[in-house]
Amino acid sequence: MAIAARDFRELRLDAMSRTFGSLNALQGVTLSVRRGEFIALLGPSGCGKSTALNCLAGLLTLSGGSIWLDNTRIDRLKPEERGFGMVFQNYALFPHMSVRKNIGFGLTMQGRPKPELERKVDEALAIVRLGDQSEKLPGQLSGGQQQRVAIARAIVIEPPLVLMDEPLSNLDAKLRLEMRAEIRRIHELIGSATIYVTHDQEEALSLADRIVVMRDGMVRQVGTPEELYSRPAHSDVAEFMGYRNQICSRAAKAGNLMDVSVGGVSLQGTPVEPMADGDAVAAIRPDDLKVSAGGPISATVESAQYHGSDFYCSGRAAEGTELYFRSAQRIEKGDTVALAADPSRVLVYPRVPS
């Protein structure tokens, strides 16, 4: 029998909230997760994503709301009664136990018979490709190997839900890419639901079926990676999804589009929600602000970083507007460039007075 997640239909977070003193770390988070789904909780540090994960694991108690696994309310259960697998940011491997003992710990606690335990641990070792390291202590392994042990230890108990708290943040860039693919492969293999906390939008986009963007303890937007990438619902979500140019401007209706002013030049953009004339924010990705001969915006280059396929540049347009853009050609500091953006790639949001 291979390792497979325990069956369930739906995990439901119902207005989950948590306060620390006067700080509202989580405010009414509502979400429903199906079996087999890979959910990324994405947000800047302090947005409540780790708090949400710890609440799910039972390491923090809720101040309000509830958590349901199908028809069972689980938010009052202790972590040891929930049976979720968790992968910690620092791996939290037991330093005094061999890799095999670490992975078998959950099964030992369940009192499984020895032959079954050994077989499952062997399977988990094979899944994370660590079969030959099983007698080593965690301290003798590399960071990537420790990470694999942590994953094996979490999945061997066949949890319906696997929780991961920024598991790749301690690895170097190359290993991070490798482990990303590995995590997705293991997720599909065992068929659990995975909730993955990260502050790296690229990680969330490449791994998740659905992304939950959080900010100030609240869910800002839930959607597929494509939805979030092309149409963030709010300007702060857009900023987090890589719309680095956020230009405050007046906006005026022009048919289905809106006229906005970017660097003193009038530009057409697409409103994300129905909106009236008034204060607005225009959000443009650096990738969508292109250097083109007849471009309307004129900017002076302030820096250009070589990124292999192109240059990542920043420049200043009229009115002191700082703009980030990409250029396929080599440009130097001090050059003047002409920039253009497709109206469908300029997203216009109403400006919320703060």
Binding site: P79, F88, Q89, F94, P95, F105, M109, Q146, R153, A154
Partner: protein, 302 residues
């Protein structure tokens, strides 16, 4: 290994001495240990060797006469048992009680206030504690007067016996044991226990499988230090105990030899025997350590 490889391949005679020493990490800063070395040599090594040699030059008899006298006179050799009978239970009580309390205290926010309160008995010293206990627990003290007032029977004898010394050893020794245990326990990454909990380990299993094995090394050190402290008990054994009876500890025997019989050779011999007893117990505890995991108690990269 790399250092040696470097020094072998690139250390021709032309290399200045300073650079060659630096390869072995010896430099000007190394000189800073000299005062400490001198201090240890003058105040510990020399007196120790002097006392050791002195113990073999008895007032009368051959070179082993002092030791023969000690081990043939029950009035003398019983002091070892009397001391162990105080030191071992006191050490165990102090260290074992410190574990559950430290487990709770590490979660507290205002830990500093509590640790400050606990450090006070250490700074006051054993004499003040003994005086306090004499007044409080004595036949006319508050404790016995309250007992009688509320009709719990006659005065209980709590000082000038074994109980008095034991209470004093716990009062003065516990804060020390506790602070050591607390620092070892807070050194264990809480995420290890969280991980164990998500894997289904109940509190008892988390304690047995995770905390205790990681704490074992620290507890062994704690036991050694607490034991050495209580084994050399002197002021409280004299002030609170029965220095001629149940709490006639080995340090009292040494004191009497030195300052009542003016036999410094005999006193040295007793001090040597005392040191040897401590050494045996410490060696036993430390050798038990090898059964446990000894390494970092962190949780990997962090």
């Amino acid at each position: 290994m790399t250092d040696q490889a470097v020094s072998e391949s690139t250390a021709p005679e032309s290399m200045p001495l300073r650079v060659r020493l630096a390869l072995y990490e010896l430099d000007g800063v190394t000189l800073l240990v000299l005062p400490a070395v001198l201090f240890v040599a003058v105040l510990f090594v020399y007196p120790f060797i002097y006392g050791f040699l002195l113990s073999f030059h008895p007032k009368a008899g051959d070179w082993l006469a002092n030791y023969r006298k000690f081990f043939s006179d029950p009035f003398l050799y019983d002091t070892i048992a009397a001391t162990l009978w105080l030191a071992v239970p006191a050490t165990l009580i102090n260290v074992l009680i410190s574990i559950p309390i430290a487990l709770r205290v590490r979660l507290m926010r205002r830990r500093r206030i509590l640790t400050t309160i606990l450090v006070i008995p250490i700074t006051l010293g054993t004499v003040l504690i003994a005086e306090g206990l004499l007044n409080y627990l004595g036949p006319q003290g508050w404790f016995n007067r309250s007992l009688m007032l509320f009709g719990f029977g006659g005065p209980v004898r709590l000082v000038h016996n074994y109980t008095g010394v034991m209470l004093s050893l716990i009062l003065s020794g516990f804060p020390f044991a506790f602070l050591l245990t607390l620092s070892y326990i807070t050194g264990i990454d809480p995420s290890l226990e969280h991980a164990a909990a998500t894997l289904g380990a109940k509190p008892r299993a988390r304690f047995g499988h995770i905390l205790m094995p990681l704490l074992a090394q620290g507890l062994a050190i704690n036991l050694c230090l607490s034991f050495v402290q209580t084994f050399s008990v002197f002021p409280s054994a004299v002030l609170l105990g029965a220095p001629a009876g149940a709490t006639r500890v080995i340090s009292i025997a040494a004191y009497q030899a030195a300052y009542e019989q003016y036999d410094s050779s005999m006193a040295s011999a007793i001090a040597m025997i005392m040191g040897f007893c401590q050494l045996i117990v410490v060696a036993l505890i430390l050798s038990a350590r090898s059964f446990f995991y000894r390494g970092a108690v962190g949780a990997g990269k962090g």
